[in-house]
Symmetry: C2
Subunit: 115 residues, 2 copies
Amino acid sequence: MKKGLPPQYEARANIIKAMGHPARLFIIEELNRGERCVNDLTGMIGSDVSTVSKHLSVLKNAGLVHDEKRGTSIYYSLCCPCILDFINCVETVLRTGAEKQMDIARCCGIGAKSN
Amino acid sequence: MKKGLPPQYEARANIIKAMGHPARLFIIEELNRGERCVNDLTGMIGSDVSTVSKHLSVLKNAGLVHDEKRGTSIYYSLCCPCILDFINCVETVLRTGAEKQMDIARCCGIGAKSN
DNA sequence: TTGCTATTTTGCTAATTAGCCAAATATCAA
DNA sequence: TTGATATTTGGCTAATTAGCAAAATAGCAA
C-alpha cells in the first residue's frame, strides 16, 4: 500500500473502511437500537441474505460487532456504541458542504429557490 | 449497490469511505495541527506526489478538507475538526478487540507472555 | 519569452470489493 | 432419519480503488 506510515494507521483505516458502506451504516444504526439477527436485517436492507451476512462478517472482523448464538439464530450487537457519535459529526460535514454550495450559488447570483 | 436504503446512508458512507485509508488518516491528523500543502505531506507519507494529491482530492470531494491557494502553493486545512474525536473511538474499538483476544488466550490456558 | 517550482490530470495495471446464486453447515422438531 | 429454518461459504463477474510515471497546468521570477 505505502511504505512510510506507522502500522496503527492501517489498523484504524481497517475499522473505518468497515463502516464505509451504506448497508453497514444502516446495520450499525439498527444494532444501536438492539440486537438483531441476519434475517431481521435482510428484510430491512433489501439485499440477498448472503450479502447481509457478509456485511456482518466485515463488521465482526473489524471488531465493531459481537455475535451470540441463541437457539437457531445468531444475534448481533454493537461492541462500541461510541461509533454512533461519529455519525453526528458526519452529518456536520454534510451540512457544512451543503452550506458551502449555497454560498457559491449566492455569490454567483444564482437565486436558489427556497422550495 | 443496493436498492432499499434511503440516500443519506450513501452520502454518509462516502464521507466515511474517504477517511478509510491509512495515508488519508495521517493527512487528517496532520491537518489538525495546521494547514499543509501537498509538498509538505508528500515528504512525510513517502508516496509519489501525484498519489498524495489524489488523496487530498478524495478528502476535498468528500467535504472533509478545504483548500486555499496562496502564491505558488495550495494550503489544505480541515473543515470539521470533530472528525478527530472519532479517531479516539476507533482506538477504543481497537483496544476492545485486543482485550477480547487476551480473554480468549486466558480462557484457553495460553499463558500470554507479558512482554 | 524561458525556466523553476508546485500541483493536478491522464493512462495504465494490479488489487480489492460488492453482489448474486448455489451449495454447505447447523439447529431443532417430528 | 427427513424436513424446515437460519446462516455462512464458495464461485463468479462487474465495479471501484490505489499507485506510479509522464504529461499538463499554473504562478512567479528573470
